[in-house]
Subunit: 159 residues, 2 copies
């Protein structure tokens, strides 16, 4: 099994640049839109393929899908994210990672169970400044977070 040598194509480098450039955490779709301004003929498949390649070479990161779409991050340094349950955007939290607390927990888990634990993911949920302002938002409903939009006929009127 020899690994195939990667080529740095124009498309690939443009995709990388665009992901690294943006402050937000774009979906593949958004990357496509940005890249398309520079390479109008690029195809969605190319974007997906290259995002994967870039992720596995460690040049960008992949953020798990809390809202249905996958998101990517050009900043590969460890940092916390918060997903806004209002609009689904993902923002960086401006405080350095205090991995020690969770890492201790991780280690504890590794010892206490028969599983091999060697990684974790910690994400926060809340409201971005925008959503927070726009509406007081029903803080009641918030508890449901786990990863889906409860925008149903649940209860949007006055209580």
């Amino acid at each position: 099994m020899e690994q195939k040598r990667q080529r740095m194509t124009h498309q690939r480098s443009v995709i990388l640049e665009e992901v690294q450039r943006c402050q937000d955490h774009p979906t593949a779709d958004e990357v496509y839109e940005r890249v398309r301004k520079r390479l109008p003929r690029i195809s969605m498949g190319t974007v997906y393929r290259n995002l994967d390649v870039l992720v596995s070479s460690g040049l960008i990161r992949k953020l798990g899908p809390d809202f249905p779409q996958m998101r990517f991050d050009g900043d590969t340094r460890d940092h916390y994210h918060m997903t806004c349950i209002g609009c689904g955007c993902v923002e960086d939290m401006g405080i350095p990672p205090q991995d020690d607390t969770v890492s201790q927990l991780e280690t504890a888990l590794g010892k206490l169970t028969k599983h091999g634990v060697f990684g974790h993911r910690l994400e926060f949920f809340g409201l971005c400044p925008d959503c927070r302002e726009k509406k007081g938002y029903l803080l009641e409903e918030v508890q449901e977070i786990p990863s889906s939009e409860e925008e149903q006929e649940h209860g949007a009127e006055g209580e």
Copy 2:
């Protein structure tokens, strides 16, 4: 506001029973398979709809998709999960939640940033006993997973 009165249909209660019964964390698909043994004519749409209903009434929980499919949990008590990067299964970690550490962090984030933070999700990644045994597994491949915090040392070639 008034919510529409829910009916406890046969299908719904069977679905609930099956989710509560199983120790693992079934995907909608798996729930469908189980339920189908008792209700051969049930449809996938019904399963999805009812899982959603049960989630929003708090009778079961929804686990975010780390592997592409959504998973559900009949045990609504707080507890940790580990997703196996080998086979994608999700298992409970047998240690009680020590939320205080992370909650402190959550509070800190709420104060330090202009975001409203009121929830978090902490998941672990590793290998289930099965996968651990079957193969030493190529620990290299670990980096392919969503985005863990540890294990990110190695750089270039993926595959």
